[in-house]
Symmetry: D3
Subunit: 320 residues, 6 copies
């Protein structure tokens, strides 16, 4: 049995070297990146059994994605392979920024194979057998079909007693706040554990006020057991069955900020699935997010000992 099942889109991430712009690039580094697989990788590397499913073209590009995820130990048996010749693999181009030049993401994900993933193609039994089932707000943003599949899977999971976890993950380039809000509101009724960036809660769901009141409000309105609100440099806060936990940020020299939020969720779920309390899970979430920042790529290439050291704060810079 797999402790965690996640689903969503994973793209090829193509990025030129630091200091170089996309429009003059001659070489692109290739990696796999997607919110839900990032979460699965972090949880797997931290010791949990995790699976990820999606729909990929049966092409070198699709196999490239699966190969990288498997290398970290993620179970990809649930992947649906699209073998029509024009099945697409989503791609995103990433230009690393430096103030005042923002890090820029150019998506090329329209009509990716995953947008046609129907509920009937998914292995709902695997979802029902898992302890936690996770996806993010990116998934229902990708197509009408995925919107329905997302709703179906989360419902099936919750019905079977699987904890449903969701990260709002609002993306401006995918849809408007109003479109997102309508979908989020429908889905939130099926969610047991919600991760929400303070900004997303405000922009999309119109939730202003301090983090605690936002968390409490969401928990009450949608009957969500645990709501985690992240506040960037100011740390994070969880309201779980009415109780509040707070967590600061571990400082990091940021090498690559992409995937930090997913590492946060992955760290949280890893500790949670290991029996950790909400406070402990938040601590692992924060430490994993911080650690992720030091590594190139979407993925938190992390081991349990790494996080234990961050939490225990035992660094002296060089280990030899």
């Amino acid at each position: 049995m797999t402790a965690l099942v996640t689903f969503g889109e994973t793209m090829l991430r193509l990025s030129p070297p630091r200091g170089e712009r996309l429009e003059t690039a001659r070489e692109l580094e290739v990696q796999a990146g997607g919110a839900e697989s990032n979460v699965a990788v972090a949880a797997t590397r931290l010791g949990r059994d995790a699976a990820w499913f999606s729909k990929l073209p049966d092409s070198p590009l699709g196999r490239r994605i699966v190969g990288e995820l498997r290398s970290h130990g993620v179970d990809t048996d649930g992947v649906v392979w699209a073998d029509d010749a024009d099945a697409r693999q989503g791609v995103y181009y990433l230009e690393h920024g430096a103030s005042p030049r923002p890090t820029n993401v150019v998506y090329d994900r329209a009509d990716a194979a995953v947008t046609t993933l129907e509920t009937s193609e998914t292995d709902l039994d695997a979802v029902r057998d898992a302890e936690v089932c996770f996806t993010s707000g990116i998934t229902p943003a990708l197509s009408e079909t995925l919107r329905e599949t997302t709703a179906d899977v989360l419902e099936a999971a919750q019905d079977a007693g699987t904890t449903t976890a969701f990260d709002l993950n609002y993306r401006t380039k995918l849809w408007s706040p109003d479109e997102a809000a309508e979908v989020y509101r429908d889905l939130l009724d099926s969610i047991d554990l919600l991760f929400a960036a303070e900004r997303d809660a405000a922009t999309v769901l119109g939730r202003d006020g301090d983090a605690e009141s936002v968390a409490r409000g969401l928990a009450e309105d949608y009957d969500i057991e645990t709501v985690v609100v992240t506040r960037g440099e100011e740390g994070s806060l969880a309201v779980s069955d009415g109780a509040v936990s707070e967590q600061g940020v571990y400082e990091a020299e940021t090498y690559d900020a992409i995937g930090t939020g997913d590492a946060f969720v992955g760290g949280y779920l890893a500790k949670h699935l290991d029996g950790g309390s909400v406070a402990e899970s938040l601590q692992w979430a924060s430490a994993t997010a911080s650690f992720k920042r030091t590594v190139e790529g979407d993925i938190a290439v992390v081991n349990p000992g790494d996080i234990e050291r961050v939490v225990a704060d035992e660094g002296d810079g060089i280990s030899r």
Copy 2:
């Protein structure tokens, strides 16, 4: 005034190092590649004024294409910029082969911005002012809209006295022989100078027999002034106003075979526009194609002196 105008799709070409497969790649080399821009670059580098137009997304990826073409001297002022957020830049992934592993191309070009290029967006005056207007059989294969635009542009050109040039360039992964044949037949009436691989003539147009009879047949049936038939390692042959010219192949150590056919056309047009005879143009075509094989990328990075040396056969291996 520009001597040559070409139009069609130019893609980003992404390729892993030799000996590495796409599905395990960690780095991809980036270049611009497209039959018609390859032709324009070769002609420009060989001394002619050439322009290329197309429709590109107004994004770093689209600008990447234009920057590379301009670096070779091609005039890109006619490019139409698509500024809708979801305008796509076509991409192709190239895995260099080694026998028995074939070189493999994975297209990701569906719905590229160029597929929406309408006649009204193009600068027909530039086409009418040119001496030669060129496109290839790939262009009308890309969309219904492009099929019409291709027909319109070639007709406008021919009506204005511009020589219309066309390379069949049949691509299995884009359409069936039957679909291609129908479109080709319509277009051939507007063509003055046709380039056809012997295999394409057979597969698509059902033209069997020796190269000369194929050329003569096409010239007569469609009233084409000059038909050039290429026969791979066996050289090429032209029938022009009934007269036959033949040309052998210059041997090459092949480093990258992609773009060889486009270099052939570019070399032909460069010499033709310089007042060369059909035989001389064929010779430059063959030499440019051979030279291209020694250079990485779609593009023939060539100078007039390079071709003069090949034709004069003055190589001794090292020049110092």
Copy 3:
């Protein structure tokens, strides 16, 4: 259930770029390489479920090995992790040659963690449940302990009805022909399917004569069901239950010859496990070996369709 279980040492392979010598190298490419894991990867990629086990240091280097094997789908759950601080990861340095400079391998594998792998640490049930259990003559060459473990595992497998497969794989730098011969002779009694290079059979086992008589002799003397003798460019030959099958070599442009023999075995076992005849298995063996030569690294990055195409001989050089 896993169709194939292999075991042995997998090293980090460190190699400078082509044309550069180890003693002036500034950058080394890293890959995982080992005869038995190479076999497991080839079989997995060609569609069979395969596992590999060994003993690795619980360090970034050991995890590097497992990550790469898992990326190809190999089950590594049976790996024993050595967590003592001085557990070693074997390494080999590879300098690509060009005649008259030979490809040179510098081993640094003494006292690697795998040399301490005892039978009691292995999962014999997994071996007993498999259809085929494979190792090579390198494994017992590495330590006295491994010699015993190899014998124990092969015996346990054969007793349980698992087909035991073995490749002589004699390595001059590891032991003398006499040392090897003694060990081989003991092990051969437990073998059902033997792969032997003609040269190894002569050098180590003193088997001269033509390939068929070598194969028949080994089959009879050690009561081996199937003996496959490989003869380099001259192809291969199998004697199975007295019947002879012969197979030529598929020509290849060799990019990297390391791992060719392992790809041969992997291709054979993949077809065999899929119900192929000896002749069909030999054909897949030969095609996989040929294909491997075109790819950098020890590992045959191959898919079933690739081999089907080689066997069907449908290449035209470029697929687009």
Copy 4:
């Protein structure tokens, strides 16, 4: 008609990776760099038509320069090609520093082809037709011939009503303050728009005091319409027809500081040629300089939207 014409030397810039010293380098990155072409590129990229002329060897190295400049859209038709076999291409080697190790530039530009550029070889009509003609104090430092050519071109421009723009750009490694002062004083009479680093004004022209008094003094003494004084981290100041404008610095994470001053001038001229006021031009100058710092190379790979965002201060770090 071209809005801006610049002229001067452009070198190949060869630099090892960060953290590596020139004297142990094994790989050098190649780019084109020169104050005046840097200005032309920045202005072109920001939307103005700009040309650059110089004298280059008719060799792969000279063509390398032109190719890179053309890729950004700069018109290089005015380049004079030196086809004598020993015509030199200037080169500079750049070692990126890190405190306390300074960034080090090793020039190898003596006797470059450009040092023989005579007035009679230049296209003075293009200069006369332009709105602005720009060069920097590096140009007359390179040779006696260039000193005369610089004077001739600036005079011809001013006589034709073209605005003449000049950046002092004093370089210790090229000449002494006294030599520079003599030449500057002659040239300043032909200048309408002067850019001067506060330090250069002091070192070379003996202008001490605060920036405003320096600017006013230069404006009055040489009858210069607009004098812009840059003060490093303290911002910049312009005196134009007696009126003063001040501009602060936009903070930047500096990736490569080379070319910052040229980006400043390019940004200024781009806005000025678009009808901007002195204050607006200074703001674009400052924003372009800041943006340049985030990009590897001499050249500001910038688009109008980038600068609009810096000026509007709308960064949130990641755009996705």
Copy 5:
């Protein structure tokens, strides 16, 4: 005559690019690194004649080490070549950290050839002829044999009037504080010039208190002429014949901190051998250490002028 002789182990240092972890690395940069050869290189580059000896395998890997050291001018004639087939070259893998991820060193140096270096194999005359003989506390930690050889060489040196210099260099991964303390105490009687990190003095030798009292205590207890105590960011202090010298730290943007301590010793010895006072030697030590931090690799790629500039504090960031 050589001014300085050092001896000890030099390893191959293999490190992935910044931001990448060892366990996902695909390319490793290769360099030579070892405390004593780092010291020899720094001293040689700063103008002194220096030699280094050790025992290396007669293999491409051993020759790789010698080649790199020779490139900096170090005399390696005293190297003993081990030509048995299984002689090992020590290696260390270096993962560059970023807070909170520590820089991680994975040693693979057990049983390296150097561990068998006996006194009889060394050229004691070269040691006796030198002005200074240096090794560090790493050398006796590597094997019992090296412990004896270290003692023998230092004694022979001191007996001949050669100044013996020693850096405690305690390494947790090599031995326990107690083991180290016993060996250090024996060796310190033969030492004339001791370098000790404050932390090592405390951890291993139990010397607490301020740096001056630590230095005085060590000098008195072991009759050491000069004791230098380094205190990280707080600078360094020397007690020499009872007199105290203090030195601050030159601030640096750290690119690679490995080898900083060795650069400190190398800078000290270079100035000392040039007749510098203790205070001047400390200043050069500090400046060389600071400069080293800006360069990738174990080795201080430094020239005398570089250190003169740091000491004179004449940096303005760019020299052109």
Copy 6:
């Protein structure tokens, strides 16, 4: 005492990756290359003590040259350092060819520091103490000063009983056959051992006929003890005191042909200095030349065992 002293120019060699042209290059590989230092390196690596002297700028570029030569063991103590700010380091750009595109060398060596090397700056005693003193026909081609210095050094050597060795090495891009002939004729009187490519003997010295008669003619006319004539793929021939030796070519997969002739001379001298006969020296010359072809760069990265294997013809492709 040094067995061999060579002198001449060594340049930085800058070359783009294979398949890429200089005029589109983004990265250049850096190496040291020069006929005489190539000879010194080959001889040193093959076991002889060799020195090289020249005049280099006291800059990172000059030190880059010396560092690389020293890494191979060449004694560079005789190098004269030019410390005037404008002392130049010669450079050559190398574009690897592939038929029909020739390998192209672009020299940028005019006015290099070495062109000012006067006899008075050289250490003639070192030359007189050597067994062999070597330079090539490139050296006197570089400047009038070098012409005199070359004559002086060779004369001083011969007078002292040092064997003088010379390779015609005619370079079209440096001077005309007539200019070269005049200088060669003067120098040949001071030569004891001459290496001449058959083509150079014909082109410059007008020596036609078969190789033996060319060799005999040169030996007699200039009273040269040994004349070696190389004939490309047809091998080489020596006439020494009237006796003829012939040597074939060892076949090689050519990776980089530059430096092959220098490796030939280096191999010859290494064997000659080891007491080899003319025939044995020719054999080593031929084997070293062949081996060089397999290695990137001007330099033969070779060890004595490598050549012994080539001569003994013991290759089987992979050594493991």
